[in-house]
Structures are given as C-alpha cells and as structure tokens.
C-alpha cells in the first residue's frame, strides 16, 4: 500500500471515531476539573496586590514610632493634579523625626491619578502609595483622606509580598461596602 493510501485510511478511521472532536472536547472538559480563574470578589475572596502597586496613600512612621513626614510640602509641589494639601506646624514633643510635622496632610482622591510622584518627591520616604484599592465612596467627603487615617497601619503588612488571593468577608458599612481580607488564608493565583 502506497503512503498516500495509508494516510487516506487513517484519516477515514479518525473521522469515523470522531477523534478531533474528542480531542477538542478534552480541553473543554478538562477545565471542569480545575479550580476557577475568576476571584469570588467581593463575596469571599480578595486580590492582594504586589508591593509595587499604587493604591491609597499611606504615611509612614519609623521604627521608634515617629512620623517620618516633615511637612516639607514637596509632595504637594510634585503633584500634577494638585490634590495634596500640606500645612506644617511646629511640634517639639517628638511626634515626628523633626520638629516640623504636618498639621494637615490631605489627599483628594477624586483628583488623584495615582502616579506616585509624591512618593518620588518625598525626602524621608514618609508618603507611599499603599495597597488599599477599594476607594469607592458614597459621599464626596470620603473622597478626601487626611493624616490621621493615613497614619494607621496598613491592612496588608509590608512583609507580605502580595500577588496572592486571600479569603475575605464582605461587609456593608455606613461608608460603603468593604471587603476585609483574612491574610492568614491566602492562595497563589493560577495563571
């Protein structure tokens, strides 16, 4: 039997037992037995971004718990959307690393475009863009975050590299909805 004949025969057998069809469906059906690609967000899961993520601003403290911000206003100067307001004051009580501290440090998130220039401009690494990204709000006032709030420890600790999916709870509050991650229960996201 010539080679040509052989190929024709095999082709005929493949067609008669629906081989390509089965192979195609194999991929489809195999997905039935894998975990889901989608996150169950906001119901029970939440994406924890990497450290390089640019979310809500945070104001940092040093290891002694002193505010790193010296209210130099360079962030507000660097800001292309003019969304940061800093008003300095003098404080000798040791609140900050210098006697100059911020009386007001406010960011207007409705204007902010999360470019991270403030972070670059900061001479003391006081301001960083954090990993909080649920910024939707029901009132305009909540669009502005001030110093006291930004000084609070971040929900995602610096030690956690990120890029994982955490179990989470969905919470409704007066401020709006919130998805609180349980950082103990994380899983790598399949790609």
């Amino acid at each position: 039997m010539s080679e040509k004949c052989k190929a024709k025969l095999i082709n005929f057998v493949k067609k008669s037992v629906f081989a390509d069809f089965i192979r195609g469906l194999y991929i489809t059906f195999s997905y039935n037995f894998e975990g889901a690609m989608t996150l169950k967000y906001p119901d029970s899961e939440k994406w924890i971004p990497y450290r390089r993520f640019r979310g809500l601003h945070t104001l940092n403290k040093n290891s002694e718990g002193k505010e790193l911000c010296v209210a130099c206003e360079l962030c507000s100067r660097a800001c292309p959307t003019d969304c940061i307001t800093v008003i300095p004051e003098e404080n000798d009580a040791g609140r900050g690393i210098a006697d100059r501290v911020a009386k007001v440090w406010e960011v207007d998130l409705t204007r902010c475009m999360f470019c991270g220039y403030c972070e670059d401009a900061c001479p003391t690494t006081a301001v960083r863009l954090g990993r909080e990204y649920e910024l939707a709000c029901t009132t305009l006032e909540r669009g502005t975050r001030s110093r006291d709030e930004l000084l609070l420890p971040q929900p995602v600790p610096e030690a956690l590299t990120g890029g994982v999916v955490a179990k989470a709870r969905f919470i409704r509050s007066a401020d709006g909805i919130k998805v609180v991650a349980e950082l103990g229960k994380v899983r790598q996201r399949k790609l």
């Binding site: 360079l74 100067r77 000798d92 001479p123």
Partner: protein, 842 residues
C-alpha cells in the same frame, strides 16, 4: 578711568571700582555670599574668586579694585572649579535639612549649588553641629547655626546699618557662630534685618516659622503703611492669611532693610477684630445692615445737614486716590471746606511746616539730602519714628564722611554717628534755630530787615534764645560754623515742628539764611503717617486745596470741628480711618463732642472707640486689600497692590467713597472700582502730580535704582504763610509750675499711632507702658531701669515702668503716644504736647 579687560573684552572703568562691580555691570554673573554693596567688604566667602592673568592665585573680586591693564577672567576653568570646590566646602558642615528649613526654595545656597556646585560631595566625615534644636533669639528671630555659611552679613547689617550691634561672630574656623552675647535673648530693635540678609536658613522669622513654603506664597508689591518713609515691601499670603512682609535687595529706597513695624506689623490684616459688615444705628443700637441700608442712611443724614455744619476727617493712612476723592466730595457736592487729615495738629501748624520744609517746591530725594557735606537732624526722634531714614543716614554718613549734627531733647541711636549732638529743652526747637538763624544772618541782616519773624527773634536776642533752649551759645556757634564750612547742607526736620508750631518760622529763617549765603540746602520733612504728605497735597486740609493752592473760604480743622460740635453746631461728620476718641489731644472732649454731632459716619477697619459712637459704620479695608498710591515724606509717589479680597462684606475704601460721591453728585461720574482712573484724574487736576511716573513700580530686578526720581512730585507756585502762634509751649509749661520733669511724646519704635497695637507680633515686643528718662536722672532719683514709677501731672497720674535712655537731656520724660492703658494726652492741655510732671517710685 583705567583700561581693563574682562573675559577678553576691553573696557574703560572708573579707577578704584571693584572688579565684582565692573564685571556685574558688564553682565557677567559672579556668585557671592558675603558681599553686599552697603556693607563693609570682608572677602570671606571666596565665592567671587576670579582669575587675573599673570597672577598665580585667584583673587576675591569683591574686595579687589581694578587696576590699569588688568585682564580678568570670570569663567575660566580654574574659576569654575574653584567655585564648585568652595561650595563643596560650605556643604561639608551645612546641615542640609532643606525639607525642614524655612528658607528652602528661596535659599541662596540652594540656588548656588544648583547652578555652580558639585552635585555630589566627597566628605564622609561627621558634620560639626553647633547645637541641637533651633533656639529663639528674640520674639521674632529663631536661629539655626548649623546652616550658617559664615558670611557675617547679619553681624555687619546689625552694627553698620541698624547701628545696634548686638550680634557677633563667636569662635573661629569651623566653630564660628554668628549669635548674641552667650546666645542670650536679644534686647534689640527687633527689626529682623539679620533675617533678611541671611542667605541661608540660619536666621529665621519666628512668626513665619513652619507656616508655608516659599512656592506656596502669593505676593504683591506694596508699601509699608506705618511711618512716612515709604519703604517698599513685598507682602505675601497663604490661604488668605498674610504671613510675611519682606524687603528686596536693591528695590525701593530702603533696599533690603526695614524696621520692626514694616517687617512684623503686617498681621493687623489677619486680625479677628476686623469689621466685616456695615452697621447702622437702629433704635439707639448699632446693628448689622446691608450696604443699601447704610448708603440710604448716609444719603438721609447728610442731605439734612447744611454745608457749613458738615465735616470730614480722613486718615493720612489712606491712599492718594481715596483722599483726593474724599476732599472732592466735601469741597464739591457737599460744599463744605471742613476737611482735615491731621487731627493731632492744627491746620496753621501744617501750613507753617510745609512752608518751612519747602514742600511746595516739590519732592526731594533723601539720597540728594545725604549727598550734602553736612546734615542737620532736628525736631525728630529719627531713630524711633523713621528707623529706615536712620539707617540711610548712618550708612551714607559712615561711608562718605558726612558731618551729621543732631538737635533733639532725647538721646537716640543715631547720636553715635553724629559729629555734634545738641540736647535742648523740649519744645524749644524754635529757640535753638532762632539763635542759629541770628548767627547765620549776622552778615546778611539787610536781607531779613522786613521779616517780622526775624525781627521778633532779633528782639529776643541770641543769649536769651540759647538760654531758653538750654544749649550753650558755643554749641550753637559750632553748629553754625559746621554749616559755614560746607557747600551743601541737608536738613531733616520732623514732627516736633507740628507739635510745637512756633519752631517753623525759625526753621524757615535758617533755611533762608543758608540759601542766602549761597549754599545748596535740601530739606526733608519726616512724618509719622504713611501718606501725610499725600493727604495735604490732595487737599485734605481746611485752608488749602490740592497742591497747597489757596482756596476761597477757610474751613474748620479738626479742632475747630470739635469745638463747633461741643456747642452742638455740627450736624454731621464723616470720619475715615481715624479714632479721635483716643488719639485726639483731649479724648473725653472729642467723645462728648462727637456724641453731640447729629449724624456720624465712621469708615474703618476695626471697631474703634469712635466707631462705637457712629450712626453708620462702613467696613473698609487695609493696605493689603486695595490698590492706590502713597506719597511719602520726600514726595515720592509709590503704588500699593491688592493681594487679598476684602474680608466678609467689607468694601474697598475707594469704592465706598466713590459710591457716596456719586450719591451726592447725582451722577455716575466716578468709576466705582478702579483706582487707576482716579490717579489719572489726579495727574490731570493736581499740577504737581502731572509728571509723576509710576512705571518703576512694575520693574523688579536686582539692579533697580533705589532713587526713582521720576516718581517725585513736582513743585507748585503756591505760597504759604507762617502760623501766628499765640501761646507757646514754654508759657504753658510755666503755668504748670515746674515739677521736675518735662513730659513729651512721640511714636514708639515699635508702634505708629494706635493701629499697630492691633498687631500681635509688635505687641509682643513691649509689655505695658514705659516712661523714659535719662540715665543720669534715674541715678539721681535712685531708680533703676525696669522699676515701676508713678508719673504725676496736674491733670493726670499714671503708673508705668521706667526705662532709662542713654544721652537724653536732663529733666526730660517721654511717654509714647501709642499706649492704650496710659493715654499720654491726658497729661497735656488740649492741643498741646508738653507738660510738667513729677516722677517717683511707686
């Protein structure tokens, strides 16, 4: 002239000129820290090093004069690298805390390093630190020596220009620190010039500390509105609050210098007590109202009063435009000549002073006055009342060897650079000058033969006059001979001639006698309200129209209005920016008199004691909120610019006055919102302002000429007469009976009228009222400085703190007119400014 070459270009420059100046004039940029033209050159910062071909070492251009044939290189590779190295050295011990430093953003060191410097340093050694925390040197100065570049400009400005000398360079080398004696709290003039000259953030303003960054500030060119020196300032605001007032190097006659008032008195603008809404009296009580209601009440109030029974008083702190329109309102639609702008002085005294100081002849620059070979300061407490004029006199007299003679009854800072000081009895300027005039006119008696003033002093005789003034004849002869030996004489005459008008005639005689002897005499009147001269020239005077022209019927001065009012014969009065109830000679009398006026309109920025008596209160604005021009004591017309909006419902004063003008003229002739239009009218209608040029106000470069002569007012042909003085101060003292001390008054160094009392910063400099006597008198009484004493006169008695003053005449006591708790006028008879008092420890 010598021939030099700068960067290959051949030039001819004056011999003895500094290389730095020659190069800068050619447009070459040579950076400096320690060089400032007004100060002694020390050549310490080494930033200005340049290369002279043929010399191995680089030379500091700021202390090296040009020499014939010099070939100078300002940008050779050696020079460029030397500059960079100098900056690297400066940075080895610089704190580099720019983010925290108040100077950050406007720092000369930052700019210099950015432009010339190395952008990386090689020194890894720990930096030398003079101290940890910043320390407070005075109520307005906070110091951080770690940032110092040791240019010692602060030390030099303090001793050479301000004349206080409380700063010194302590230590040497790296340990050198410019500070006070053992870093103690400073008891100085609090002028803050050390802050202004500091190129880095070493001396800083305490009130401005950590309020803002330089790039947050919005600024406007303005004029200091306290005394009449006319210092150019830049006022700066952040978020609607005025946070700083500063002077600029090379701009305005003051250049970089200011006094405490100019630099720290700006915060009146931010006061919470500002009037923000019009008020109208309803059922005997003042209540907030709308502008329509207020203007309606004014329309009704003034319509029902007859022209002769209407009066107006405007503060000499208002702008030319406002005062012009105010007098136009009275002399035009209201048909009344009862307009005044100087309630403390009689209209006759003003006329005499204006005549004696040749104000009709037009503006005279202070720099022309200081060009004279000898300068005579008389009738003014220059160092306290016009501190910046004091700086100019000190600087120029030290630099050019001008002979300065000072006649005053109290000691002053300027005494230290005077070649002659005459201490006369208070209120005897006239006698002293009369004696001088007689000595001067000795050879020229024919000239004065018909002069009544001359004949009357001649009848008194030199010795009697000298004895009255308490100055020996030989001292007066020495003064006259110092005039005799100079070709040009400058006279700086002040407000004592307005307090004691009998002196003006003698002053005029002295000036005339000197001119008769062929000398060039320049007279500078020094005044204590920023636009006093402008107010007179705008016709806010009952007897004189614009530019001192004589007008028909003579109206009533403020004293006349009060007398009429106390008889119940004044129907209405419009008071702008003045507070006669506390500032007029006899406050209680003014209160009663104003109480009897049918209809009182007060326009002011604060709720004053006078405003409380008003039927309508109109909230005006301060200098930071309006545009306009001021004419300073020299006759220099300078403009102010608005920076802030009026607070609350307040309106700009010009808008208020023009609205009222339009109400009574029945037209819409006057534009309501623009001051420029009114100034154009002033130029057209007031002959002496026709050629005034304001354009320099918009130029702001480092080499701006200090002396903008094009802005000086011109001369007029008006002739003024000397006042006929009835009772002299001496006679009123005699009637008091001599009680030990003669009490006089004037402005305190930190205050100007009562307005500056609203400033919290200025208020921090002095706590409570002070009486000043000479050191010798205090020793005689056995009282030391700082003790509480009782000052008792025949009309009033008060308890205050005693301070001694070096060099005052014996038997002279001084209480400034600025205290609310001790109103000095209560010691005096109404309309006078001298009284006999007893001082004893309380």
């Amino acid at each position: 002239m010598v021939n030099i070459k700068i960067n290959g270009k051949e030039l001819k420059v004056e011999a003895g000129k500094l290389i730095l100046d020659a190069a800068r004039d050619e447009g070459h940029d040579i950076p400096t820290f320690c060089y400032q033209a007004d100060l002694m050159g020390i050549g310490s910062c080494r930033m200005c090093l340049i290369e002279i071909e043929g010399q191995k070492k680089l030379q500091p251009s700021c202390i090296t004069p040009v020499m014939d044939g010099m070939s100078i290189l300002t940008d050779s590779p050696t020079v460029v690298s030397a500059r960079s190295s100098m900056l690297e050295f400066l940075l080895t011990d610089h704190a580099l805390d720019c983010p925290v430093c108040d100077k950050g953003g406007e720092c000369e060191l930052q700019d210099m390093v950015y432009k010339h410097g190395p952008h990386t340093g090689r020194h890894a050694e720990p930096k030398h630190r003079h101290h940890g925390k910043d320390y407070v040197l005075s109520p307005v100065i906070i110091k951080n020596s770690n940032r110092c570049v040791q240019c010692t400009k602060c030390v030099r400005v303090c001793s050479e220009i301000v004349g206080v000398g409380v700063l010194g360079s302590i230590g040497r080398g790296i340990h050198q620190e410019e500070t006070s004696f053992f870093k103690t709290y400073l008891d100085c003039d609090h002028c803050g010039n050390c802050i202004e000259v500091c190129p880095v953030g070493c001396f800083m303003r305490l009130p401005y500390r950590y309020t803002s960054r330089s790039w947050d500030l919005k600024s406007a060119d303005s004029i200091c509105t306290y005394c009449a020196t006319g210092c150019r300032v830049v006022i700066e605001e952040r978020d609607g609050l005025l946070v700083r007032s500063r002077a600029q190097l090379g701009v305005g006659l003051n250049s970089e210098t200011l006094c405490a008032r100019g630099r720290f008195g700006y915060d009146i603008v931010n006061s919470d007590d500002r009037l923000t809404t019009p008020m109208v009296k309803k059922y005997g009580k003042l209540e907030p109202a709308t502008w329509e209601e207020a203007f309606g009440a004014i329309r009704k109030g003034f319509r029902s009063s007859s022209p002769a029974r209407t009066g107006g008083l405007i503060s000499p702190r208002m702008t030319n435009e406002e005062i012009y329109l105010f007098s136009k309102l009275f002399k035009g639609p209201l048909q009344s000549n009862n307009v005044d702008s100087s309630m403390r002085w009689s209209p006759e005294a003003v006329e005499g002073f204006a005549a004696a100081t040749s104000m009709t002849a037009g503006g005279v620059s202070i720099f022309d006055c200081m060009d004279s070979q000898s300068v005579f300061v008389v009738g003014t407490q220059l160092s306290d009342e016009n501190p910046v004029v004091d700086y100019i006199v000190r600087r120029i007299s030290n630099a050019n060897g001008v002979q300065v003679a000072i006649a005053s009854s109290r000691g002053m800072k300027l005494d230290s650079c005077a070649s002659q000081t005459l201490r006369h009895a208070p209120a005897t300027e006239g006698d002293l000058l009369g004696a001088a005039a007689l000595l001067l006119a000795d050879k020229d008696a024919v000239r004065f033969a018909g002069n009544a003033d001359f004949n009357s002093i001649k009848a008194t005789g030199i010795d009697t006059l000298a004895a009255r003034s308490g100055v020996s004849r030989s001292e007066i002869e020495a003064l006259v001979s110092s005039f005799g030996s100079s070709e040009t004489v400058g006279i700086i005459a002040g407000t004592e001639f307005l307090r004691f008008p009998e002196g003006s005639a003698s002053l005029a005689l002295v000036v005339e006698a000197l001119r008769g002897a062929g000398k060039k005499v320049t007279v500078i009147p020094v005044l204590d309200r920023c636009n006093q001269r402008g107010a007179w020239e705008m016709g806010a005077h009952p007897g004189l129209g614009t530019a001192y022209s004589r007008e028909g019927v003579k109206g009533l001065g403020f004293a006349g209005m009060m007398n009429t009012a106390s008889e119940g014969k004044l129907d209405s009065i419009y008071i702008v920016g003045e507070n006669p109830v506390v500032e007029y000679g006899d406050g209680n009398f003014a209160r009663d008199a104003i109480g009897k006026v049918g209809f009182v309109v007060v326009q002011d920025t604060f709720m004053t004691e006078t405003a409380a008596l008003a039927d309508v209160i109109l909230p005006g604005v301060t200098f930071a909120e309006k545009d306009g021009t001021y004419t300073n004591q020299e006759g220099r017309v300078q403009s102010i610019n608005r920076l802030l909006p009026p607070p609350g419902d307040a309106k700009r004063d010009l808008e208020i006055i023009s609205t009222i003008y339009n109400i009574f003229s029945g037209t819409d002739d006057v534009p309501v919102k623009k001051s420029a239009g009114i100034f154009a009218e002033i130029r057209e209608k007031v002959s002496t302002y026709a050629k005034v040029d304001l354009s320099f106000n918009n130029e702001k470069n480092t080499f701006n000429d200090l002396d903008n002569k094009e802005s000086l007012v011109g001369g007029s042909s008006a002739s003024l007469s000397m006042p006929q003085v009835t009772g002299s101060a001496a006679s009123s003292l005699a009637s008091d009976g001599h009680a030990g001390f003669t009490l006089v008054t004037g402005n305190h160094l930190y205050h100007s009228g009562r307005l500056s009392l609203r400033s919290e910063i200025l208020g921090g400099f002095i706590k409570g009222a002070i009486v000043e006597i000479s050191e010798e008198d205090a020793d005689r009484l056995g009282i030391t400085s700082g003790e509480k004493v009782t000052v008792a006169g025949s009309r009033y008695k008060a308890e205050l703190v005693l301070k001694t003053r070096k060099g005052s005449a014996s038997g002279v006591a001084f209480i400034a007119e600025n205290y609310n708790d001790v109103p000095v006028h209560k010691f005096f008879r109404r309309g006078e400014s001298v009284a006999s008092v007893k001082i004893a420890r309380s």
